[in-house]
Amino acid sequence: MARDPKYDILFEPIQIGPKTLKNRFYQVPHCIGAGSEKPGMQAYHRGMKAEGGWGACCTEYCSIHPESDDTSRVSARIWDDGDVQNLAAMCDRLHEFGALAGIELWYGGPHAPCMESRATPRGPSQIASDFELNIFPRNMDQDDIDTVQQMYVDAAIRAREAGFDIVYVYGAHAYMPFQFLSPFYNRRSDKYGGSFENRARFWRESLIKVREAVGDDCAIASRFAVDHLLGPISIQVGEDGKRFVEHCDDVVDLWDFTVGDIAEWGQNAGPSRFFEENHEKPYTGQIKAGNHTNKPVVGVGRITNPDTMVAIIRSGQFDIIGAARPSISDPFLPQKIEEGRLDDIRECIGCNQCISRWEIGGPPMVCTQNATAGEEYRRGWHPEKFHPAANSEKSVLVIGAGPAGMECAMILGKREMSAVHLVEAHKQIGGCVNWISQLGHSDGKENIFRGTARGLGEWSRIVNYRQIQLDKLRNVEVHTNSRLSAEDVLGYGAEIVIVATGCHYATDGMNAATHAPIPGADTSLDWQLTPDEVVSGAKQIGKRVLVLENEAYFMGVSVAQKLAGEGHDVTLVTQAGDIAGYMHYTLEAPMLHRDLERLGVHIHTYTMLDSIEPGVCHAYDVWNPAETHDFEVDTVVLCTARISDDELYRELKADKERLASEGIEGLYIIGDASAPRMIVDSVFDGHRLAREIDSPTPEMPLPFIRERRLWGDSSNATYLGQLSSTADISLV
């Protein structure tokens, strides 16, 4: 199919300084955990997007010097010739597909803790970072300013040598140039502080120096938070925001607009449970449309809908559609629009699992929707290409159509297995996503700060995408409303059986904190519930509700939001030091805390239940169990342990002779049925098994390429030799 003419505008080239961007699709700088030290991952992840049609792809933030060191988080680095060599691999890969390569030159100041380099960061004023713990910068004098500006210049020259087309002076997210611009950081009284012109001086001078050094060969870009979202104490779009753009418009070739800072950057990388598509428009939409710039503008907002993209360009908000998360979720988004295959677009769900891994510091990026993200090089996985399985003549039965089962059946179908049957006990496919996607909302009212509790509705895209793909696969049959017994499975006639039957919440309070049930906990009683029962409406819920949250992710707090929003008096209890600890990594925590505060939820941390009786929960302080507290309640919700539904697998596995006599050659278990986990990991588990269904031992993941230094002589061939699966992309 051909592209719909209404999207033509997205495919018009645009000039950026000395470079031409071939279309309006632009992967803005975002972290992936590769940096300069996993050059294969870096080159092949960005390269996949170039292959999928993105006109430009950028590195993540790229440190210009060892005194801007973000360890344990992984940034790129362009400190020396070795970094040039490694990042050149990314540039080469992008250029093969006609995409431009961008590099985001970064100096963090106090936001860079320098835990590897042990260097001392410099800053405009000696105020501790509001992002790091206890990191102070050294006050910069004129020599320091000259030195840091020279670091930008030296890094820009190295970037040009590596092959980069677009060179950023990165000031958004409250890094160095923004720290000079904002009075929140800058308390100087010299020519770099005080007035707007003085505060803007460092950034403008840095842009001019970088431009003089490489501007003839490279486009000069700057990423700028047009509003710090802190009110009059910092940059506001209607004041210094638009003023700064006008002030530096002559020295940039491309503006990249965001909002907020790194301390609460969920305001920029907005999770779907609080922010809708293009949520930054009230800020970033003011600059171009208000005639404050004559230069091309790119910006983001988790934009996955091509109609929104067109509206953004036509309204004058941006000239170029920027994407981080949508490009991770679907590296082939531009090509799918080009080919009129809109229903094949794998839309980002805004869960921010990708971001969580960077926040944790160290692990490679993951994606709930795209299990191949970050696996392009080390496992040779391509998101759109699948080689036929060596055992494709086999037929497969997948039992359970949750995230793992849907993904596994879909990939097995794409790998041309002769027949794949996906059989689901419930009326619809989707498994836990079908009820989880109904959580996370409260009363729909404005939050204390930006955004509203929209809920997890966009997570249902996990199901929608797979449903559409499964429907298209002629070798896959999906059968719902059919619960199979072990005898049914044995007589089914499949040669490969994959069990993906999910898990359930403990009914007796069994939990990770005490490794034991809670006396009195029993969800067979009408006043005690598991989380799914809250959604199904199976039980009457009283006025006073206690939610016990032992999981440290979204479940307990989402239940609390829902019930408090419905007018219940909710008490949220956790053994941990904060509720929903993992949601700090997904950037959802600040907004979540505000919503729970607004709703009047009573939060008790470092608190665990000793026992439950009708009308009362007996609790204790985890640091001093002698300190007890009784909560008078009408209803208790137990978000405690999850337990695999693996009885079917165990029953089948117990009789190996029968399996053999029925012709079942392989029996595997995936997802929550194997061990409860996050949805992102269930999808991966299903995908991984399908990718390796023809390996000698499919139940064991094949080794992947590890990009570590090999002692002594080594070459790329040494690394490629570590890949034991069959690559769907050609690795060089």
């Binding site: 027949a419 007589g491 089914y492 006639g493």
Partner: protein, 263 residues
């Protein structure tokens, strides 16, 4: 008891498709084939009736008229539990209308001497809703259309139909009889992988017109209509898209409605 189920392998269009140069049919390159949805319900009804009968010797026979691709539909019926299947094809049947198809079906079904004949209410591609009724005419059988419940009682069959206002009409017919079956009457089963493999071992007969004692002339004599052309409808004026802020759009809508009401 022998129950014959007449089924059809229907064509589904791709999102984009082209017509053949003769202007009378869709280019088969743009078609995907599948068993007619209504027929999955009539087959299921037949299987349930058979399975509820005492003793052996009861059978469900699926019959169809169609080219090679119709073989897949019959195999699907056999995999789900039909005992036998018969396919009839002759090149001269290619552009047959409802009556011609019913005439050929009547010949193959007469050969089976069934106690009950089930058809779907309609096929999803041609949507005539007439084959079953025409077939009852050729066979000289009592018939009821759009059935949503069936009970067999020795020599009669009692069925329910749904009428306007939620009224239920109950009718009793002597056997043999013909019923056209509405979707939703039951929950059609699916075939396991083993049943799909074993279906290939079940009897599947292919017959020509001659083997049924028919020829092209007899079929042509039964036919009532022929397709002159198929075409896309002419485009109307199309919708008018209103752009602007919600308040502006709302004001414009009020203006248009007022204009049309007074005009």
């Amino acid at each position: 008891m022998r129950i014959v189920v007449a089924v059809k392998q229907v064509a589904a269009l791709d999102e984009e498709f082209e017509l053949l140069v003769d202007g009378r049919s869709v280019d088969p390159d743009y078609l995907e084939w599948d068993l007619n949805e209504w027929d999955t319900f009539s087959l299921e009804a037949a299987l349930q009736l058979r399975d509820a009968l005492d003793g052996d010797g009861h059978e469900v026979v699926a019959v169809t008229i169609g080219e090679e691709e119709a073989q897949e539909g019959l195999l699907a019926c056999l995999a789900k539990g039909a005992d036998r299947a018969v396919r009839v094809w002759d090149e001269s049947l290619r552009d047959s209308d409802v009556l011609a198809v019913a005439r050929v079906l009547a010949a193959v079904i007469e050969r089976e001497s069934p106690d009950l004949v089930l058809c779907g209410v309609q096929s999803s591609d041609a949507v005539n809703g007439a084959t079953g009724v025409a077939l009852s005419g050729f066979l000289g059988l009592a018939h009821v259309a759009v059935v949503k419940h069936i009970e067999l009682d020795g020599t009669t069959v009692t069925v329910q139909r749904e009428l306007e206002g939620g009224l239920v009409e109950i009718l009793t017919l002597p056997l043999p009889a013909l019923l056209t079956i509405q979707t939703g009457i039951n929950e059609p089963r699916y075939a396991t992988l083993r049943a799909i493999k074993q279906a290939r071992e079940k009897p599947l007969e292919s017959l020509s017109l001659g083997e049924l004692g028919l020829d092209h002339g007899a079929v042509a004599a039964a036919a009532g209509s022929r397709v002159v052309s198929i075409a896309h409808p002419e485009r109307g004026e199309g919708a008018q898209m209103l752009e602007g802020a919600p308040a502006e759009v709302a004001a414009r809508i009020v203006e248009i409605v007022r204009d049309r009401m007074t005009g």
